[in-house]
Point group: none
Chain length 143, copies 2
Amino acid sequence: MFIGEYSHNLDEKGRLAIPKKFRLDLSKGSVVTKGLDNCLFLYTQEEWDKLAQKLANLPFAQSNTRAFARLMLAGAMDVLIDKQGRVMLPEYLRTFAGLKKNVVVAGLYNRLELWDTEKWEEYKNKTEKESNEIAEQMADLGV
Amino acid sequence: MFIGEYSHNLDEKGRLAIPKKFRLDLSKGSVVTKGLDNCLFLYTQEEWDKLAQKLANLPFAQSNTRAFARLMLAGAMDVLIDKQGRVMLPEYLRTFAGLKKNVVVAGLYNRLELWDTEKWEEYKNKTEKESNEIAEQMADLGV
DNA sequence: AAATAGGTGGGGAAAAGTGGGGAAAATAAA
DNA sequence: TTTATTTTCCCCACTTTTCCCCACCTATTT
């Protein structure tokens, strides 16, 4: 599954190279959507189907679950990997995540996250300082 | 399993030699990730899979579990041992752990830890002095 | 002091990432 | 329906990175 942090460039046509080792899993089809903390989530078809199922079953009586489902479902777009191993990100998603040229591709096991490099560094600085405290909270999960 | 303390040098290409006796266990694949106290953890594939499984199942709706998963999963990288018994550490991990030239490789039974030598000495000095007090606190863990 | 084994450094081939031209397809306009 | 314009995607060429391999160094053993 996906792990690691990679740095790639968006070209003028809005294409982003996917690290070689992730391509096979994504080659059967994949879905990008709006993620949390201002990044994009990229799923394999299979993982997306599971997630979409969960989202569709959220009770729509609550306004915040409606908002969340709209964000992730209406925001989604299926993408294909071209022969050079790149995906074309639609303009509205690039805008949403504030992607310019430098993009970080991060492996989060069952999804990839796409971040503007500056935002990613900022986020990392913030969370690495708190990492010991966060780790303490995770202790009860057996980690 | 892994025990002992070794001192090795990072070369200009970011490669680090692994002590001979650890190589066989790591040769089937291994994963480095961000550890606590500013060092890196190096796991065998098998050990890593156990850990990753726990991390992957954390719900992404909570911000602190997202942060932790990003730290540990996006922070991880699978590495291969080359024919000379070295691993290539990606730049972002070297930066995280402040690795310069001198690196300590320490065996912690089911993982290796990689430390900048200065930080390691500093940490050792501090904890060796406090070791008796720390030991007292360990009593209730059955040690 | 020679021999061996583990560790270190660097050159070069191969692979991965990047940028851009142009054909094909899709969409919009006439 | 035809023409024009835009978008998508395939392909080629260039650059950068990775990794394989050879050679050398250093320390330990005989």
